[in-house]
């Protein structure tokens, strides 16, 4: 109750919070919707302008931009198969499939609704429990991250679709891509060809934009008719009661995973999005619809993204430890105004923290209003004639991918992954396992080796950490179950399948 009063007081004291929240959401949606402009870049671009500003309004602006960008990424993901942000890549799969079925308006509505629910959940936790929850982050050791990563990868066993073998191949290729760059233990360069541009690895967004967006452009070039969303679909359709009931499980999964990932440094939004996609599929009543336009396949990752955008602030504020690049930029926003986040922030700058909380609440309203208004022009844009649309998507991708590090080399990599994505489609190799490998590979490898350095090479260390032990056991159970199912199915179909398996 005291906190509510203090939040209200903060708004009265610095009313600039309100335009900052709306401005941040709008700017974030713009940046997030452009491929290559990540949420952290979108925020960092604003940072120099917050110098002279009121500190509270400045941090509200940055925090709202974060939420806006996480939502903005889903719009091009659904409409043009181009993930605007890393964490929107999971939304591409079913979002674009729904668009292809003429259900773009419904997909966008589900995305907005889910992001909103996720961020309401996150904001409530942020406001009520930041200080105790910050300590939850301390429970995560290197071993725990290995468990998290392996659980994420274990889904390949069930996702692989028609051929488990091909899925495994794609997964290992993804893991290989993740090894490019500076070795996490020795600092040696691996697979970099001495090129400084490869030192920090291949940014996952290049892989995703390449195999989803660019490959789709190549693919569509040969198709006679780019399916346009029919005009009846030009309106946004928010989920009705029946749909809301159907999405519930996926959203709970997304909210919980987003919450955990937000708390744990090194996790981050992308991993949250893919893990919740995986788990939503695992627990869904209609898992076969995933990949073919399942509404739950949008709801789970988008709820997670919304939750992460709030819970990532918990360790940043409570411990002074940013859990993601975006939280690091927000940390910079505090530092340049002479405030050091950490346990003492709540006593030394109580008013700013309350102002930030108030701003987060206002930004939820801003998300609904701005997020809704922006969709109509977006739908109009994708309903232009096919030749213009494809030309503009291509130009957008070429411009956006460059922006990550002002690098034409990166543009080349994205084009190369376009070719790879096209080839994978030709050979009917599923792409999702590869993306999972790229997203999770570095986390798994670096923490696996770190854990062994700590334990002096003793693998039992993974059983001693309860988090790791639980997650790894779950992963093992899931793998066994799906292998048994594969085996049974192939026995049933009575083909030569089992010879190979």
């Amino acid at each position: 109750m005291n906190e509510l009063m203090a939040m209200f007081g903060a708004v009265v004291a610095s009313p600039m919070i309100i335009p900052a929240a709306f401005g941040g959401i709008a700017w974030g949606i713009l940046g997030g919707a452009l491929p290559g402009i990540s949420p952290s870049i979108t925020m960092a671009l604003l940072l120099p302008f917050t110098y002279g500003a009121d500190p509270t309004a400045a941090v509200v602006l940055l925090a709202s931009t974060y939420l806006g960008a996480e939502y903005g990424g889903s719009i091009p993901a659904i409409l043009i198969r181009t993930p605007g942000t890393n964490s929107a890549a999971a939304t591409v799969i079913d979002g674009y499939a729904m668009k292809e079925q003429g259900k773009a308006g419904e997909a966008l509505g589900i995305s907005l609704y889910s992001t909103l629910l996720g961020s309401i959940f996150g904001v409530i936790l942020l406001i009520t429990l930041t200080q105790p929850l910050a300590n939850v982050a301390l429970a995560f050791q290197p071993t725990s991250y290995v468990g998290l990563g392996v659980l994420g990868l274990s889904v390949i066993a069930s996702l692989a679709g028609e051929s488990l073998i091909k899925g495994m191949m794609a997964g290992f290729i993804g893991l290989m891509i993740a090894t490019v760059g500076t070795d996490p233990v020795t600092g040696l360069n691996r697979f970099t060809f001495d090129d400084p541009e490869l030192l920090s690895g291949i940014p996952p967004i290049l892989v995703m934009v390449g195999i989803y967006a660019v490959a789709e452009l190549f693919e569509q070039s040969s198709q006679p008719g780019w399916r346009q969303t029919n005009s009846a679909d030009a309106s946004i359709k928010m989920p009705d009661a029946l749909m809301r009931a159907r999405l519930r499980v996926a959203q709970v999964i997304g909210a919980v995973i987003g919450f955990i990932e937000g708390l744990t440094p090194g996790g981050g939004g992308t991993i949250a999005a893919f893990l919740s996609y995986n788990e939503a599929k695992r627990w869904s009543k209609k898992p076969e619809e995933f990949g073919n336009g399942s509404p739950e396949g949008i709801a789970a990752p988008e709820t997670a993204n919304g939750a992460v955008s709030a819970t990532a602030l918990i360790p940043m504020l409570g411990l002074g430890i940013p859990g993601s690049n975006s939280a690091a930029v927000l940390l910079g926003g505090f530092l340049i105004h002479g405030m050091t986040p950490g346990p003492m922030l709540f006593t030394k700058h109580y008013d700013v923290v309350m102002g930030l909380y108030a701003g987060k609440v206002i930004s939820l309203f801003a998300l609904v209003i701005v997020g809704y208004l922006i969709l109509r022009p977006c739908i109009w844009l994708v309903n232009r004639p096919k030749h213009y649309l494809m030309a503009f998507i291509f130009a957008l991708v070429l411009s956006g991918v460059y922006a990550i590090h002002n690098s034409l080399f990166h543009v080349g990599i994205a084009l190369a992954f376009g070719v790879i994505g096209y080839g994978m489609k030709y050979f009917r190799i599923p792409t999702l396992p590869m993306v999972l490998g790229v997203v999770l590979g570095f986390m798994v490898e670096s923490n696996y080796r770190r854990a062994l350095v700590l334990s002096d090479g003793d693998h039992m260390t993974f059983t001693e950490d309860p988090i790791a032990a639980t997650l790894l056991a779950l992963a093992a159970i899931f793998i066994v179950i799906s292998l048994v199912r594969h085996f049974r199915d192939s026995l049933k179909s009575g083909k030569a399948e089992q010879k190979a398996a």
Partner: protein
């Protein structure tokens, strides 16, 4: 040749090349027991194994080619060629943009890709390309401060002014 067999072969080649690169990673005293080449080698073995499995399976199945293969094949070849055209536009952009600069090149990308996708060579297309490029320039360079390549123009203008 079966398509799966080719996929397996490519995977196997990738695994071998990658393994060779991994074994060339130098030895460091800062290394742990696993080492920088440890997991990569395992990945290479796994990829190689699954690729071989796929090849074996493709050979065992030997499914008779579906009817109308020739037609499907030629259709797919045309499709791939059309895709290559888009790739060429992208590669051309990467090659030319350091010299010709972002505004001009991105206009050309929009115009050429539009024509390539079956748009009409018309004033309308030209206008839309130019306006679209201006819009992208406004968003990326003006609003977002991304230093897109300027090309030779600034230097040229400076030299002419002198």
């Amino acid at each position: 040749m079966n398509r799966d067999f080719v996929a397996g072969l490519l995977g196997l080649v990738l695994a071998i090349v990658y393994y060779a690169m991994a074994s060339k990673i130098q030895v460091s005293q800062l290394a742990d027991d696993v080492g920088p080449e440890g997991l990569p080698k395992i990945y290479a073995w796994m990829l190689g194994g699954f690729s071989t499995l796929l090849m074996v399976r493709a050979l065992l199945q030997r499914a008779p080619a579906p009817a109308g293969t020739a037609e499907v094949k030629s259709k797919e070849a045309t499709a791939a060629r059309r895709g290559l055209g888009m790739l060429a536009i992208g590669v051309g952009y990467v090659v030319l943009v350091p010299t010709l600069g972002y505004p001009l090149c991105i206009t050309l990308v929009i115009a050429i890709a539009t024509l390539y996708q079956g748009g009409q060579m018309s004033l309308r297309t030209a206008a839309i390309s130019a306006l679209g490029a201006l819009g992208l320039w406004f968003v990326f360079v003006f609003l977002l401060h991304i230093g897109q390549p300027a090309g030779i123009w600034p230097e040229l203008i400076e030299r002419l002014a002198r």
